[in-house]
């Protein structure tokens, strides 16, 4: 035995300083990255958004906002769906599997704070979502020759939706028994949020009351931010009568959408904190 093992616990206790929450979160994110790359199913969730993009390529293209076509706007909205699929699909699948195999329980019992565990997962979803979004955006720019008007606003939209959707994924896990049922069950919110997110059909087509409701769900605001960021047009009140605006005015008009997304992130975080189950035997 080395000398370290024989130190009295009291002496050890005085020397204890846990690594900061941020450090722990980043460390877990690093491991999440390794595991993501080694896990085939995770790669599937990465390919899924690309499959969505292919049929969009063949939709008829009509100019609706200046030089921007309906297809451009659909593409912009579809960038938000990357985080949607990855967040809901990957987070629910992996955390349900880890709860079942007692990984989550062991992490908690060995002293890792819950925020770091959730944070590590959120970071890795955000990272892969942003990377894929940049890749797809690059392809769109190369094909269309138009640069996004406000890339920062566009990426903030992608980021906020990735965070919110990861939380939705975490929130699915208490409702399911294992990873398989998580995979099946996660399709329901995934489809529901995709349909109301302005990807399959423009939100403009919805009747006004429905559109108002949808704008308070956690995807449509991000889709509109993405479209605004891509086109530079103020699309928050619909395409009709939307004007091209400068950066400041565009961000000012985006504030309500950012607010709705942040509110969702807070609400979803509180729900995760309240309902997340760490132990498969937990009642």
């Amino acid at each position: 035995m080395s000398t370290t093992t024989t130190r009295s616990p009291a002496a050890q206790a005085s020397a204890r300083t846990a690594p900061g929450l941020l450090k722990q979160t980043l460390r877990l994110a690093r491991t999440e990255f390794t595991l993501f790359v080694r896990y085939k199913t995770a790669l599937m969730y990465l390919v899924l958004p690309l499959v969505l993009f292919l049929p969009l390529m063949s939709t008829p293209s009509v100019e609706v906002l200046g030089e921007f076509t309906n297809r451009d706007l659909t593409f912009a909205a579809a960038l938000v769906s990357i985080g949607l699929m990855l967040g809901i699909g990957h987070a629910s699948n992996v955390f349900a599997a880890r709860r079942e195999s007692l990984v989550l329980k062991r992490l908690r019992v060995s002293g890792v704070p819950q925020l770091a565990i959730f944070g590590g997962m959120t970071l890795v979803v955000v990272l892969f979502t942003l990377a894929l979004a940049v890749l797809i955006l690059g392809a769109i720019v190369a094909l269309s020759g138009t640069m996004p008007a406000d890339p920062v606003l566009l990426m903030v939209a992608v980021l906020l939706s990735a965070v919110a959707m990861t939380l939705v994924g975490l929130l699915i896990t208490p409702l399911v028994r294992n990873a398989e049922s998580a995979q099946m069950f996660s399709v329901v919110p995934m489809m529901a949020l995709l349909l109301t997110g302005g990807v399959f059909f423009p939100l403009d087509l919805l009747p006004d009351p429905v559109r108002t409701v949808v704008q308070f769900l956690p995807v449509a605001p991000a889709s509109e931010m993405a479209q605004a960021g891509y086109s530079g047009y103020d699309v928050f009140g619909g395409y009709e009568g939307a004007e091209a605006l400068g950066t400041a005015a565009l961000w000012a008009n985006a504030l309500p959408s950012i607010g709705v997304m942040l509110a969702w992130i807070v609400i979803l975080s509180l729900l995760v904190r309240r309902y997340f189950k760490w132990d498969p035997r937990q009642p």
């Binding site: 050890q12 300083t17 491991t31 007692l102 019992v109």
Partner: protein, 311 residues
């Protein structure tokens, strides 16, 4: 660790019914019992995954529910299942634990301790059950816990690994760690426990030091009953209960001696019986004297005949 009158109910079912015990630094307390006796539920309450239905659990004087920050860095556990990320290698897993901990041990030191140095690059899913179990213990040691919960820590290990593990656990105990152990291997409890309790149907039926528990159970003196001796002719011996049972068509008499001077009671009983046999001019065939084993006690408790022991 202090548990006072702990109750845990799931709906109508009461898994734990009024359990109390305490464990001090440097002490190992073993919780034995059949499957479903409530051992794991008790540990899970101490680990902070369950709020007691009534009664209390305290670790370092704190309510452990929800793993509050003040005690989080000072406890750790080997769970009943492994709980390791199987796509990581042995070393990656230990490094992760080390980087997340407040005052971790050296990874190489732990690898040597659990004898997995040559397996360090192997993915965890490639390890055998016993190797995984060693890594579970190693992972728990990484954080230098002062309180350690071991839920069947040697399941799946070969005898050699089990002995190595016992050595590690004994060293932890000597360094002042308070340990709560559950196990199905009674020998493990006999080797490691300073005190032990046997749980059955949510209650602690027997509790004490190993020698105390065994002393309460008594020593047994048995012999083959000669064919010309009737049961009623058997002599009374002070402090002993007589039982006659048939084994393979023979009748065996067993005197169970309880109470009194624990060290000398078997001697006195045998002396009395030898004197009686000399008087009768018979031989006590196949005479056996044995102390109770933990297994005797355990089986009686598991059968629900706990009253016999505590009387």
């Amino acid at each position: 660790m202090v548990v006072r009158d702990l109750h845990q109910r799931y709906g109508d079912f009461e898994a734990v019914r009024g359990v109390s015990f305490e464990i001090r630094p440097g002490e190992l307390f073993a919780l034995l019992g059949t499957n479903g006796a409530g051992k794991t539920t008790t540990i899970e309450t101490l680990e902070g995954f369950r709020r007691p239905s009534s009664g209390s659990a305290r670790v370092f004087g704190q309510d452990p529910f929800g793993q509050p920050a003040v005690i989080r860095d000072r406890v750790n556990a080997v769970l009943q299942g492994s709980g390791l990320l199987e796509d990581l290698s042995v070393e990656e897993s230990l490094r992760l634990t080390s980087d997340l901990a407040a005052s971790p041990r050296d990874v190489d030191e732990v690898l040597r301790l659990i004898n997995l140095v040559d397996k360090r690059k192997l993915r965890i899913r490639q390890l055998s059950g016993g190797q995984k179990r060693r890594l579970d213990l190693g992972s728990a040691l990484m954080t230098r816990p002062e309180v350690l919960y071991l839920d069947e820590p040697t399941t799946g290990m070969d005898p050699e690994a089990r002995h190595e593990t016992w050595k590690i656990i004994n060293e932890l105990k000597e360094s002042g760690v308070a340990i709560l152990l559950t196990t199905h291997y009674l020998e493990e409890a006999e080797r490691l426990a300073d005190r032990l309790a046997i749980m059955h149907r949510g209650e602690i039926r027997v509790e004490g030091t190993l020698s105390g528990v065994l002393a309460g159970w008594g020593d047994r003196v048995s012999f083959l009953l000669p064919s010309d001796v009737r049961t009623a002719d058997l002599p009374d011996v002070d402090g002993a209960a007589i039982e006659v049972e048939s084994r393979d068509q023979d009748l065996w008499a067993t005197y169970t001696v309880t109470g009194g001077d624990v060290t000398a009671r078997a001697h006195h009983a045998v002396a009395a019986l030898i004197a009686w046999s000399a008087e009768q001019g018979i031989v006590l065939q196949n005479l056996q004297v044995r102390g109770a084993s933990l297994e005797d006690v355990f089986l009686q408790v598991a059968d629900g005949a706990a009253d016999l022991i505590t009387e």
